[in-house]
Structures are given as structure tokens and as C-alpha cells.
Symmetry: C2
Subunit: 382 residues, 2 copies
DNA sequence: TTGTACGCGTTATCAA
DNA sequence: TTGATAACGCGTACAA
């Protein structure tokens, strides 16, 4: 016991002498921290006992366990993750694949997602590695190296494409994969999504209740999952109200969501050119709504008097535009948590193979940008 | 050669039989991809030759190299990163430590930083792992486990505190560490920063040239590095112009940058209470400026007629506020690249030990929120 | 309950 | 230029 109270060096433990006794084939001395063998020596037990004491504290005598953990603490021992990983054939690193360009303007979904996911993962003892899926070959190779090289234990994918390179495809991995925000459950990937369609439908319904009958829809990239869902939701609401598809004008569709500001600016120009002006605008991202509003206000229109506006994302900044913007807030934190839960379930119970879809509902935040339609205008158009 | 043209299974290579011949102590069959031994067998060479061919292609006969890489490709072989890492005592994972709460409102610095860093790292063959430094013990432990457990090879820190837990402190690591955005070069950490001080000084100078002599400064958390620098810059400009410290009123200081919107709202209230109104406002984040502007506009002040406004961060959304906001854009991408360059230099040439400081200049984007001071008011106050 | 011995998949040394 | 072999640090089946 006395020796345990002593310092690392003072205890006569020569950590370094493991490099002396076999003076051949010594790799670069990078890590060089105390080893399990050092802990064992200091505690006066075998290495395997140390291993057990640290991993299965129950399967070792309480007294020796205490001795060992004291020794470990004294030495500042940290187990080598790669050695453990190699031995058990697992790692505790989760990879999240992000779309190439992260620049989402006002929206904070990416950092929020990372935050939420990382927090959940930490609680379960996992770490988060990020990978960017640019559309070049190198980045796909990197991702596949990570997946097939045993570095990562599971994947959260936040992008539509599964990376492929030569023979290798992420789809062929034995690794658990969960799709986030994008519903890929039909490709048998468990997915965590929000109810884009229903949220837009509800927002449209509210606009209709406010007397609006002519809409401008500012679209995301044509064919994109989110855009299809959101536009579909708007159309559903129109149909329910007995309004034909003629009552909505589409703008946008040419740019990715990353170029939302530009899309909004162009939509404002489209709006200016319309002979029959809509009285309500549904933008599929806050960026679009913000730049659109900025431009149409400059052109002389008043929001919400002339034009109501609602958008998607729930960016905090929407509260401070003039007027404050109504927006559909995505439950980013919860989605991240759900994705992690799904993933960990698959990791720890490998037999689960059925595709799952978890829907975490979005929430409309009503602000001043939504108001009753100008009576005159709508009567004119009906 | 014929066999190389065959498929993996068809070539008679029984990958699995390595589990048969020694039927004891078989770890969980997680990875189970082709091994270097499989490649060697298919190519008809020794394992060590495969290793060389893949790592040092120069030191092996071109003909065998081709044979080996063909076999590797055919099998879809990916080297096991943990085995390699264990052997060479290095990993190729870089950890970035982010502050606990990432929610920065309109600013996009975090995703931009991650993007820039990840891109640079990928080019050098490294991967990025993120760690959140919440102020709880667990997150510090996680970070230290990563650092001392050999998982990571270097650290980029984007937070003021170095994690500590018991005996262990990140400061004691042999790992290369680079500080980003925060100047920690005096604590002998190489740092990549921007010229906060000078950028604010320049912006203040421009305001003075526009005739402004009374300022409201909306502060970040009191004592924070960025705030000290930025406020210092403002004061320097005042002094140069022969204006005393009396000419600037401070607001804020109570909240972190994450609560920038709130800080701005409170600053608007402070502004309303002031008997002598400043004619120019310097906000230390875009969030503060945005919410401040929203509130004072609602109170009836006009920007920029009554009040000029400039802020810090360069959020894209500033272009679309009404009026468009002048803001100091931080060169986030370049800073990330510089940090990576610094880090990799330290990794690959371990002897470098002098602290370095790289300053990447910020750039003022002038927009309509900055205009000439109302002549009357300033004459009144001079 | 503890110790011995072996192997995880790779790289590096040495000899051929 | 290539092949046999010994580590890297840890976990685990088995014997004690």
C-alpha cells in the first residue's frame, strides 16, 4: 500500500524500460504514456487482472480492484483505444456524413444537429467523426476507408447519396446506418425525419383560413425529397379547400438550399413580374424568405399587409426580422437524439434488420408575417 | 494471372477459414472484410510484401506491385486502421474541441470552420473528430481519453479552457495542439486568430470620419478575449481622434455570445434610457446588431438616419436585413486552413516547439447601416 | 478469484 | 527485391 502512495517515478516503476529490454523493432515513441503493464506492476497483479478490473469491475475482488484503480489513477493511466479496438474488433466512433457544402445561411440546423448527436453519443460512450461528402472521388474514398477499415462503428448519413468507389459501396457495409432528415426507409435504411408535408399543409391551411387563395411557392432544388414533400403538403391543403393547382405559382427550383438567399432574390423578381399577384408566400427555407422579403419590401410591398409569408427551418433570426417571420421549426435536437438511439440499438442488437422510420413533428411558429389577406384583392381574383 | 481475374470466392480464397483453423478465442466477427493475408494469398506473395507494396510502392518490384494492387482491388481490400495505428503508434484523426453550446444565432462560423478544417485535413489524409467541451466532468474525461488513449494525433482547440481531470490535463499531452480564434500563444499554444482589435479600430475610424462622436458599444461577455480586443480597438480609434473614453457607452457584458440576440434586445432598452443618444453603434456580434436594430426601429428610430450600426461576424444574412448591415467578416475558411497547416507541421516535424501566432485579417463589409451622422445632433453634443 | 498464453491485423526488422 | 517473424497494447479462454 505504501508504494501506491508514492509518485509514478518514485515508486520505482520504470515505464521506459519496456523499450530497453527489447531494443529492436521499436516504433516511433509517440504515445509513451503508462501501459496496463505499468499499472499491473504498481498494483502487484497480472496484466489480465488489471484488464478485468477496468472492464468488468464486478468480476474481481473488491480489494484488488481498489488497489488497481488507485494505481491506474496514480499513473494517470488511459487505455489505448486502438489496441482495445483491434482486440475486440469494434471501435466506438460514429461517423456522420454531411453534404458537401454546409453553408446554410441563417439556418442553424447543421451545428444543432451535430450538437444534439454528439451529446447523445457521448452519453453512450461513443465519439463523433465528421465526413464531408463532396462530389469528388477522394472524399468518397475517405469515407469508405473509414467504413471498411474498421475505424467507425456506425454511420449517420445526412445526404442523399451513399458513397461508392470501385467495388466498394457503403451500402455493402455490415455497419449500422441511419439516415437523418431524408426518408430513405424505402431503401431499407432506418430514417429519422420530420413531417415536412404535414407541416406545410398546416401552414397553408392557416393561410387559407386567413383568406388567402393565391400563393407563391418558393421551391428548393427540383426533385429534392424535402421539396417534393413540402410542395405536396401545400397542394393537399389547396385541394382540401377546393382550390385548384392554378392557385399556386412556383418559383425557384434551380438552386440548392445552400443558395437560398439567391433563390429568394430571384423569387422576388418573379413576383414582380406576375400580373396576378399572390397574397401569400410559402418559402421552403428561411434564407429564401429573408432575402425575398428584403427585396419585395424594397420594391414597395408591405408585409404582411400586401403579402403574408411563412417559411421553413425555424432560424432564430426570424424573430428579429421586420416584421418577424413565421417559420416552421424543425426539432433538430430531438431528431439527432432519435437517430442516435436508432443507431445504438442496431449496434448493440445486431439482429434488428427491419427498416424503421421515426417522424419527429415540426412546429409552426406564428409571427407577424402571417396576416389576413387584403379583402379587395381576393374578391377580385376569385 | 488467371486467378486474379476471378472473383473473390471463385478464386478459392476462403477468407473465413482463418476463423476455423484456430477455433478458440475468436472475437466478435464484426469487421470480417478481406485481410492483407487474403490479398497476399491471391497475389501469391508474402504478407509483408503486400504491406510494402501498399505503403511504400517504390520499394517493391513494379510487376509484383501491380499484381498486388490488382488483387487488393479485386477483393475490395481496405487496410484496418486500428491495426496499423496500433503498430505504428499513430492515428490519423484530429480532434477539434468546440465550446459547449454551439448555438450562435445568425453567424455561421462553426459550420464554416468545420468545413474549412475538414477539407484541409482530408487533403492531408487526416480525419476530423469533434468533441464538445461542456462544463461537465464527463465531457472533459471523454476528451482526455481521446487524447491520452492514442485515438487522436493532434488537437485544434476552439475554446478557452484546456480540459483537466484528476492527474490528467490536456496541457501535458505530447500531442500537437493549435488554438483557433483565441490567442493562446502566451500559454505557448500556437494560435490562429483574426485581428479583432484592428478591425474594430478601422470600423470605428470610418464612423468617426462619417462625423460620429458618440458611440454605443454592445459588449460580449466581460473579460472575454474577443471583447477585450474589440473594445480596445474602439478605444484606440477614439483616442486617435482626440475623443475621450466618455464618448462611448458600454452595454451588454452579461451574456455569452450564444445569447447575442438577447444582448441586443437589452442594449436597445439601454439605448432608449440614455439621455444623450449615441449616433453610432458598434455591436460585437451580428446577432446583437440584428436584434438591437429590430427593437430600436420598432421604437421609432431610423437606421442609418438616426443611428449608424456596424457589427462583427460577417453573417450572410446581414445583406438582407433592412437596411443591410455593415459587418466585419471573419476569414473563417482561411483560418481553418492555417490552423491545419500549423498542426500538420507540428505533427510531421516534432521538433518545432516555438509558439506561433498567425493573424488572418478580417474585412469590413460596408453596407447601408453605416452613414453620415446627423449634423445637428453632433453639434449639439460636441 | 487470479495468472498464463495467445491472437486481433498490421508494420518493421532482419536475413535470404 | 522478397519472406519469415516479432512486436504494437489489450482482452479473453483456460488453467491454476
Amino acid at each position: 500500500m505504501a508504494s501506491i502512495a508514492l509518485g509514478f517515478e518514485a515508486a520505482g516503476i520504470q515505464t521506459k524500460d519496456r523499450n530497453v529490454k527489447k531494443n529492436k523493432d521499436v516504433p516511433a515513441e509517440e504515445h509513451s504514456g503508462p501501459l496496463m503493464a505499468d499499472v499491473a506492476r504498481l498494483a502487484g497483479v497480472a496484466i489480465s487482472t488489471v484488464s478485468r478490473a477496468l472492464a468488468n469491475p464486478g468480476r474481481v475482488n473488491e480489494k484488488t480492484r481498489a488497489k488497481i484503480s488507485a494505481a491506474a489513477k496514480q499513473l494517470g493511466y488511459t487505455p489505448n483505444a486502438m489496441a482495445r479496438g483491434l482486440r475486440v474488433g469494434k471501435s466506438n466512433i460514429i461517423m456522420i456524413i454531411l453534404p458537401g457544402s454546409l453553408h446554410y445561411g441563417a439556418s442553424q440546423i447543421i451545428p444543432q444537429i451535430l450538437q444534439g448527436i454528439n451529446r447523445s453519443l457521448s452519453q453512450h460512450g461513443y465519439h463523433l467523426m465528421i465526413a464531408n461528402l463532396d462530389r469528388d472521388e477522394t472524399s468518397e474514398q475517405h469515407i469508405l476507408d473509414l467504413a471498411f477499415g474498421g475505424t467507425v462503428r456506425g454511420v449517420i448519413i445526412f445526404s442523399s447519396q451513399l458513397p461508392v468507389d470501385g467495388n466498394r459501396s457503403l451500402a455493402d457495409t455490415a455497419l449500422p446506418i441511419v439516415s437523418l432528415l431524408l426518408d430513405m426507409s424505402e431503401s431499407s435504411l432506418p430514417s429519422v425525419v420530420t413531417n415536412d408535408r404535414q407541416a406545410v399543409r398546416q401552414a397553408t391551411q392557416e393561410l387559407i383560413e386567413l383568406g388567402h387563395t393565391r400563393f407563391l411557392y418558393i421551391a428548393g432544388p427540383t426533385g429534392n425529397y424535402h421539396d417534393v414533400e413540402r410542395y405536396g403538403g401545400a397542394l393537399e391543403a389547396l385541394r382540401e379547400a377546393g382550390l385548384s393547382e392554378q392557385h399556386v405559382v412556383r418559383s425557384g427550383g434551380a438552386h440548392s438550399y445552400q443558395l437560398g438567399f439567391r433563390t429568394g432574390v430571384e423569387a422576388a423578381d418573379d413576383f414582380a413580374r406576375l400580373e396576378v399577384k399572390p397574397t401569400a408566400v410559402i418559402a421552403t427555407s428561411d434564407d429564401m424568405a429573408i432575402s425575398f422579403m428584403s427585396r419585395v419590401q424594397r420594391m414597395g410591398w408591405n408585409i404582411p399587409t400586401d403579402l403574408s409569408l411563412v417559411s421553413f427551418d425555424g432560424s432564430p433570426v426570424c424573430e428579429f426580422s421586420t416584421p418577424p417571420l413565421s417559420t416552421i421549426e424543425q426539432p433538430v435536437e430531438e431528431m439527432g437524439q432519435a437517430a442516435v438511439a436508432l443507431l445504438i440499438e442496431r449496434i448493440e442488437q445486431a439482429h434488428i434488420r427491419t427498416a424503421t422510420r421515426i417522424v419527429v413533428p415540426s412546429r409552426l411558429i406564428r409571427r407577424e408575417s402571417m396576416a389576413a389577406a387584403k379583402p379587395g384583392l381576393n374578391i377580385l381574383r376569385s
